[in-house]
């Protein structure tokens, strides 16, 4: 077990180090998030709608699209010089590889999701107040579900000719629960409702995230094994 955790930590650390050196994904996602928030800001008629009514949906859709940009590149650096084959040929269980890759994606996407919230608070003048802690929890659960599905399906689509096109087609239908419960809980917080009213959505989101994570770590071997 100790070795298993060490192997996860090693792959996770490598992914973080490579990303912080190349900044490929963080820059692409960060620029996307800021630009989308600016465009939404200008595209919305504030005389007809109030920010609280639409912000939660826009926040989650921005997280989804930005996440797709980042998660879609999970195995691109690995493909360079066949490095992923090197990991597969080392004595690391496939589920450990999945967990490490998903956790690395979680770190990138969670940073990005918090940036999304910050940018929307800035441009839409939202007030989160005392629910900010719970909002970050809801976002963490949604991001966990997203990266679990994203990492698995990126592994599926990377080896195909239409990989980049295929990924959203595969993943978006499965992300419906994340959008439904994530948006539900977020809109409650933005409307200043008590946390108890969002409990149901948070529980469903947590259950979905954990199920997606465990299923992903189990199914990953069937995707990467020849």
């Amino acid at each position: 077990m100790r070795n298993y955790l060490k192997q996860i930590r090693t792959i996770l650390w490598k992914d973080l180090l490579v990303e912080f050196r190349t900044r490929e994904r963080l820059i692409a996602m960060g620029a996307f998030v800021v630009l989308v928030a600016i465009l939404f800001n200008y595209a919305t008629d504030w005389a007809r709608v109030s920010p609280e009514d639409i912000a939660s949906g826009l926040v989650w859709m921005t997280i989804m699209f930005a996440g797709l940009l980042g998660v879609g590149r999970t195995f691109h650096l690995e493909a360079e010089d066949g490095a992923f084959q090197g990991i597969l040929m080392s004595p690391v269980p496939k589920d450990a590889i999945f967990i490490a890759k998903a956790l690395a994606n979680f770190v990138f996407l969670y940073i990005m999701a918090l940036l999304v919230v910050g940018v929307f608070i800035f441009f839409f003048g939202l007030e989160v107040g005392g629910s900010f802690g719970m909002l970050t929890l809801v976002i963490a659960l949604g991001v966990l579900a997203f990266v679990a599905l994203g990492t698995l399906f990126t592994a599926v689509s990377t080896g195909t000719r239409m990989g980049d096109t295929l990924l959203p087609v595969l993943i978006f239908p499965l992300l419906a629960p994340v959008v439904i419960y994530g948006t539900g809980a977020t809109s409650q917080f933005l409307a200043g409702r008590p946390v108890t009213e969002a409990e149901g959505s948070i529980r469903m989101l947590a259950a979905f995230a954990l199920t997606a994570f465990f299923l992903g770590s189990w199914l990953f071997r069937f995707v990467v094994e020849d």
Binding site: K14, L77, D81, G82, Q85, G86, M89, S90, P91, V92
Partner: protein, 226 residues
């Protein structure tokens, strides 16, 4: 046997290798050499047949046997944005090596890369990358070494370094299988040789059995098959 759709890459090869043996497999492009090596490495599942390792069937679900196999492919399995030392440390940690500092430094020194330990792999020459890839393949001191076209793209001095390392490896304790187009370098260290074409061994024999011009013999065998 291994098939890709309607193409049979490896067809009915019955191969038994003893400890200390150095088998060199020659053959034209598309003969199935790399697929055979991937089968031996456990990177590919055979459609039919089995790979045995010290009396036990190679089990794809288990990872422990990977400690005993080192693979040098024509891809280096290296990360361009990590330094030479970081790459070796990464793989060393995945293999759970103890005394990693000593092992990494020793390998870098042995392959003449100690001066470039801190250089990013993307800044190394092809010959240096190839040497580093060999250091990676041998890091965990495997007793079965699989080499796929190790001389490709090397300048004469790098080829001499590689020849020296391979010569050191031939210590009677390891089983080595090398795939190559290069008849001279391929035969230099071999104890056994085989010629592969269209997925099958069309000739196999001891190095000592090879008399006269092997190049002529090789071309004769291939042309006779085609």
């Amino acid at each position: 046997m291994r098939e890709y759709g309607t193409v049979t890459a490896v067809d009915g090869i019955d191969l038994s290798l003893a400890r200390g043996e150095f088998l060199t497999i020659f053959g034209p492009n598309g003969a199935g050499k790399t697929s055979l090596l991937a089968l031996l490495a456990g990177a590919l599942r055979p459609n039919r047949g089995q790979v045995w390792l010290r009396g036990e069937t190679l089990d794809f679900g288990e990872v422990e046997w990977r400690h005993r196999i080192g693979v040098l492919s024509h891809q280096g399995f290296l990360y361009g944005h990590l330094s030479a030392e970081e790459n070796l440390r990464f793989y060393g940690q995945l293999f759970g090596l103890s005394d990693l500092d000593y092992v990494v430094n020793h390998k870098l020194q042995h392959l003449g890369l100690q001066d470039r330990a801190g250089s990013l792999v993307r800044d190394l020459s092809h010959g240096m990358k190839q040497r580093l890839a060999l250091a990676r393949a041998l890091l965990h001191d495997p007793d079965i070494v699989l080499l796929d076209e190790p001389y490709t793209g090397l300048d004469p001095s790098a080829a001499i370094v590689l020849q020296g390392v391979l010569s050191d490896l031939k210590d009677g304790q390891r089983t080595i299988v090398m795939v190559t187009h290069n008849l001279t370098e391929g035969l230099a260290l071999a104890t056994t040789a085989a010629i592969m074409n269209r997925g099958r061994f069309v000739w196999q024999g001891k190095r000592a059995e090879i008399e006269g011009d092997f190049g002529q013999f090789y071309h004769g065998v291939i042309e006779g098959e085609e």
